[in-house]
């Protein structure tokens, strides 16, 4: 390829294969490092959880971590934090902070629950379609309004965001307590619960999961092709063909691998049974096997077996929401004027203002977006629990900020990526659920997560200093 090597005028051509690979594919080494760390954590937990229980674990390395069931649960558990952290990245990039997201989540979830359970439930009758729509709209609109409120106080009244949202952290949890009168509000509308991923209606099943996976692969290929056409049109250096193919292959393997994993997770025994009975599906006869995931009839009883009636979950709705949010936020931050302004403000607020950017308005919009995402997370979290409490989002602000920071967002502003933050959220959740799997006490989990946060930032800074 004639244009190869033009991508960067390297001082010496005797660099390793890895460097050539990085330059050609233009992949971010820090993201590669994070993915590597995540894989090490996953494998470590799988091996460690299998020690002493040889032959029992069904994980990839003989343990209990790398099983479809655990990975599926991990994805669903990550979603509320992942959704919020995509907004937090932009807030931090703009040199602001939002400490109120945890309390805000509680407040919004309780508000949505009050609307569903106390206001609309009795008047419209349980299950009325207006109820879930009103619940969703309430959470999203209220979240956006609270975000605008935080943003206006920060941008126009010039109160530091740290103080505004610290006040919010305290005050919003108080409002949540008052609204809930300190009790758990349940149950939520059944259709609303689809957003939580805890019921069969919120699993899209293998067929649609494969369809979505195939569509995502097609999108990846199209994006690579389109990017190449654009570079050619403006006569910019092209990536070597092998790099394009490698990028496409990595993307496709990641998408299809994830799809395969979620399609390998069977419904729980009881749910298959309930579903079969409710829908008059004949349950085949078979031989009982307590390790099996399917159900069959044996001597007049419904029992577990290896060959029989089985359903697989596929992607859960909240995971799809998080993926869509991640894609949309990546797009917003890299392809739109709004995203460009956020980064410019983070890099040099004065220059941005002098360049004619309405920095105050951008600030309000970013906080509003953050509020909207908290509203979305509050829907997912309360739907998953099928209830709302005033403690639902407790400490979430810390996890959301930690996820963004582990994902490479600089608190000094100007630097950060949405996908990095989502990876950060996944890393943190992996550590937590891995330790739960090992039956370590919650206090110990906190110690480890805190330590990981500090080490991650330290390693990142070491890397940045070396690059300089």
């Amino acid at each position: 390829m004639a244009t190869e090597g033009e991508t960067k005028p390297e001082p010496a051509r005797r660099e390793g294969l890895f460097r050539t690979f990085l330059n050609a594919t233009e992949l971010d080494i820090r993201i590669l490092g994070m993915v590597g760390a995540l894989l090490v954590i996953w494998c470590g937990f799988d091996i460690y959880s299998g020690i002493g229980r040889e032959g029992e674990g069904t994980g990839l390395l003989g343990g209990f971590f790398l099983t479809p069931r655990n990975l599926w649960t991990l994805l669903v558990q990550t979603t509320p934090i992942a959704v919020m952290t995509t907004g937090m990245v932009l807030v931090i990039v703009m040199r602001q902070i939002d400490l109120s997201v945890g309390s805000m989540l509680s407040m919004l979830a309780v508000t949505g629950a009050v609307v569903q359970v106390f206001i609309l439930g009795p008047s419209l009758g349980v299950g009325h379609p207006v109820i879930w729509v009103a619940g969703v709209v309430t959470c999203l609109v209220a979240g956006t309004l609270v975000g605008i409120f935080n943003g206006v106080l920060t941008a126009y009244l010039q109160i530091p965001a740290f103080i505004v949202t610290l006040g919010g952290l305290i005050a919003y949890s108080g409002i949540a307590f008052l609204l809930a009168s300190g009790v758990t509000i349940a149950p939520m509308d059944k259709t609303f619960d689809v957003f939580g991923g805890g019921i069969p209606e919120s699993w899209i099943g293998p067929f649609w999961s494969w369809m979505l996976g195939a569509a995502a692969c097609a999108l990846i290929i199209y994006a690579l092709y389109n990017g190449r056409q654009k570079r050619r049109k403006f006569k910019f250096p092209l990536r070597p063909m092998w790099a394009e193919v490698t990028l496409g292959a990595i993307g496709a393997v990641a998408v299809l691998g994830t799809t395969w994993v979620v399609n390998s997770y069977p419904w729980p025994f009881n749910l298959i049974k309930q579903y079969a009975e409710a829908n008059n599906v004949t349950i085949p006869d078979g031989v009982e096997n307590t390790d099996g995931n399917a159900i069959c009839m044996s001597a007049g009883d419904v029992v577990r077996c290896t060959d029989g009636l089985i359903y697989y979950t596929g992607y859960a709705v909240p995971v799809l929401i998080a993926l869509v949010v991640g894609a949309a936020m990546t797009f917003l931050s890299s392809r739109t004027k709004f995203g460009r302004y956020i980064f410019a403000i983070g890099g040099n607020p004065e220059a941005a203002e002098l360049a004619g950017i309405n920095t105050k308005w951008v600030t309000v919009k970013v906080f509003a977006l953050m509020g909207f995402l908290v509203g979305l997370s509050s829907i997912i979290a309360s739907a998953r629990l099928d209830a709302a409490t005033n403690a639902l989002g407790q400490s979430n602000e810390l996890y959301v900020i930690a996820a963004a920071v582990i994902g490479g967002t600089s608190l000094a502003g100007g630097v950060g990526t949405v996908y990095g933050a989502i990876l950060g959220a996944l890393t943190m959740q992996s550590i937590q659920s891995g330790m739960q799997l090992l039956n370590l006490p919650a206090a110990f989990q906190n110690i480890v997560v805190g330590t990981v946060l500090v080490i991650a930032v330290f390693v990142d800074q070491l890397y940045r200093r070396r690059v300089k």
Binding site: R335, A344, G347, E350, A352, E353, L354, G414
Partner: protein, 254 residues
């Protein structure tokens, strides 16, 4: 007065005052600028020249006075207003966003967009390559964040920004302060070129030699007040030094 006369100044700052707390940083100062002219603003640190010019660029609000563009009074309340009037500023602190690349900085605030309303990075980079190729052919680092650029490269980006947006009035705040001799020469040639194109330029500088070389007139400030405005061709270096240091206006001042 209201109709734009043929020989009306491009810019007139009339009786401008700005105070910070009790201190008058700019006290009743009047300066003007004609098309194709370079007016130097001179004075000690703290004489008020940067403050005065920031009133024109929209970074500061004036407390009193009027601004006329082509003889028409205008109201400049923020940098956006100034830009809409064709006023571009190249700041002393080299106001670039350090974390985004040269092309993004060139178009900051006025991004090119695709038909879908999205950022057209490729088109911006292509245009940046074209403009920078004319301005500073050695510049090749379009993809790197601005913080990795040298002082001269950053200054080229800042000047290219102003050119790209067809500024009519250019404010340059010590444009050569951070530059080497070759880059200074480049900026000087650029100023001559912009003058030929009919732009009006306010040049703020400490270096009275560069002012003598580049400017047509010089306005000298001291302690927030205007000492006087002189035609550079009619006075000596010493006259101007006297104005800066002693606040003494030479006899033949215009």
């Amino acid at each position: 007065m209201d109709a734009p006369a043929k020989d009306a100044p491009l810019v007139e700052l009339r009786n401008i005052s700005v105070s910070f707390g009790g201190i008058k940083a700019v006290d009743d100062v009047t300066v003007d600028l004609y098309p194709g002219e370079v007016v130097g603003l001179l004075g000690h640190n703290g004489a008020g020249k940067s403050t005065l010019i920031k009133v024109l660029s929209g970074a500061y609000r004036r407390d009193a006075g009027q601004i006329f563009i082509n003889g028409k009074e205008v109201h400049i309340n923020n940098p956006r207003d100034a830009k809409n009037l064709g006023i571009e500023t190249i700041y002393q602190a080299l106001a670039l966003a350090d974390n985004v690349d040269a092309a993004a900085n060139l178009y900051l605030g006025r991004e090119l967009k695709t038909s879908w309303g999205l950022l057209d990075d490729a088109a911006m980079e292509a245009e940046a390559r074209r403009v920078m190729g004319r301005l500073n052919p050695n510049f090749k680092r379009f993809k790197e964040p601005a913080k990795s650029l040298s002082g001269g490269q950053r200054q080229s980006v800042a000047i290219a920004r102003a050119i790209l947006f067809n500024a009519k009035i250019l404010i340059m705040d010590e444009p050569t302060a951070a530059l080497g001799p070759q880059e200074t020469q480049m900026v000087a040639e650029l100023i001559h070129e912009l003058k030929r194109q009919g732009l009006g330029i306010f040049l703020i500088d400490h270096d009275i030699h560069s002012v003598m070389k580049l400017c047509d007139r010089a306005s000298v400030m001291k302690n927030g007040q205007l000492v006087g405005t002189v035609n550079v061709g009619e006075v000596s270096d010493d006259d101007i030094l006297g104005m800066i240091i002693l606040g003494k206006k030479p006899a033949k001042a215009a």
